[in-house]
């Protein structure tokens, strides 16, 4: 059970928040290649504006092998999510909603609020439906710490006012808590086995 990254897109199709946990290897970016599994990479608004132009130039021009910057990744994710959402709506009516898709290596979960805020979570393929989780993130974290923040602007151009400390802390602990508890099944089978042995013993005696 791995959670790779989390994106929020606003209604102007702009990525207002990115957080990545398990970074794939981006050899051209010293900051992220140094970051280990447990140090998430987040782009806050000021960081992003200063680094985005540099990052875009750093993208490898080679086709499949080249890795994209976080910003370009976010644009692609938005493109995919937007197209699939429109496709689903076209095929089965405007009140149907796109939930998730899965490829051979990851699964993308999607939740859209009534105000067209889009929440996207990339996990490994074994994860169950996380729409509820995304809804919880919206209700308990985004609304509480971003929308209700009196200092935060109404719109968030360039991610302004989203990456606040409380929201980030809440998100981190929320994602950590998603990891499953150790399975109980093994203990149960042991119990059953023991009981059978016990029964057999009684029969013998």
């Amino acid at each position: 059970m791995t959670i790779y990254s989390f994106y929020i897109f606003d209604r102007h199709c702009e990525c207002i928040y990115v957080k990545q946990w398990h970074q794939r290897d981006r050899s051209f970016r010293p900051t992220s290649s140094a970051s280990t599994v447990d140090s998430p990479v987040t782009l806050s608004s000021d960081q992003r504006s200063s680094t985005s132009s540099k990052l875009q130039n750093d993208v490898h021009p080679t086709g499949r092998g080249g890795r994209l910057s976080v910003q370009d990744d976010a644009k692609l994710v938005f493109g995919v999510v937007f197209s699939l959402r429109n496709m689903v709506r076209k095929l089965s009516g405007p009140d149907d909603s796109f939930i998730s898709y899965r490829t051979g290596s990851y699964k993308l979960h999607y939740y859209e609020t009534a105000t067209n805020l889009k929440f996207v979570l990339l996990t490994d393929v074994k994860m169950n439906n996380l729409k509820v989780v995304l809804h919880q993130i919206y209700v308990n974290l985004y609304v509480e710490f971003v929308t209700k923040n009196p200092l935060s602007p109404i719109e968030h151009p360039g991610g302004e006012g989203v990456a606040v400390e409380l929201f980030e802390m809440g998100l981190d602990s929320f994602i950590v808590n998603l990891r499953p508890h150790p399975p109980l099944r093994r203990i149960q089978t042991n119990l059953v086995l023991n009981r059978e042995q016990y029964r057999i013993d009684i029969k013998v005696s």
């Binding site: 990545q20 794939r24 990744d73 496709m87 689903v88 089965s92 009516g93 490829t103 051979g104 990851y106």
Partner: protein
């Protein structure tokens, strides 16, 4: 078995076959289906690109929505089979495999079929309908 619809895309993203089997999806115009196929072809390519792990295991395989579940199977030659089923339909893999077999038998072995062109093979449709029986 409730299969709603089957689409087949050639390797360039062109729609070469579309047929509805059960009610559930809206009827679109043939032009809209072509647009949809082209869009999906692009999205499929991007989904393998944005993979967070190193070896992207190909593009989109299963898409879920509230009302349907779509399985996408890409052959080695790049032809895509899109199977739309009800959300809780089990064993779509089997259906996909069987449809591919029918395609190989009745389309590819048809001497009059021009490759990459829309499928107009009566035997293929007949066998497909016989396999995916419409819900009574």
């Amino acid at each position: 078995m409730v299969i709603l619809s089957i689409l087949i895309l050639n390797k360039a993203g062109g729609l070469i076959f579309q047929r509805d089997f059960n009610e559930g999806l809206k009827k679109l115009s043939s032009n809209d289906y072509l647009v949809l196929a082209g869009t999906f072809h692009g999205v499929h390519a991007i989904t393998s690109r944005i993979s967070p792990v190193r070896d992207s295991g190909g593009g989109l395989e299963v898409l879920e929505s509230d009302r349907f579940r779509m399985q996408c199977f890409q052959t080695l030659t790049g032809t895509k089979f899109l199977i739309f089923a009800e959300p809780n339909q089990p064993n779509i893999d089997v259906v996909v495999k069987r449809v591919y077999e029918l395609y190989a038998d009745y389309v590819m072995k048809n001497p009059f079929y021009q490759i990459e062109m829309p499928i107009r093979c009566e035997a293929f449709e007949r066998n497909l309908v016989a396999y995916i029986k419409p819900k009574q």
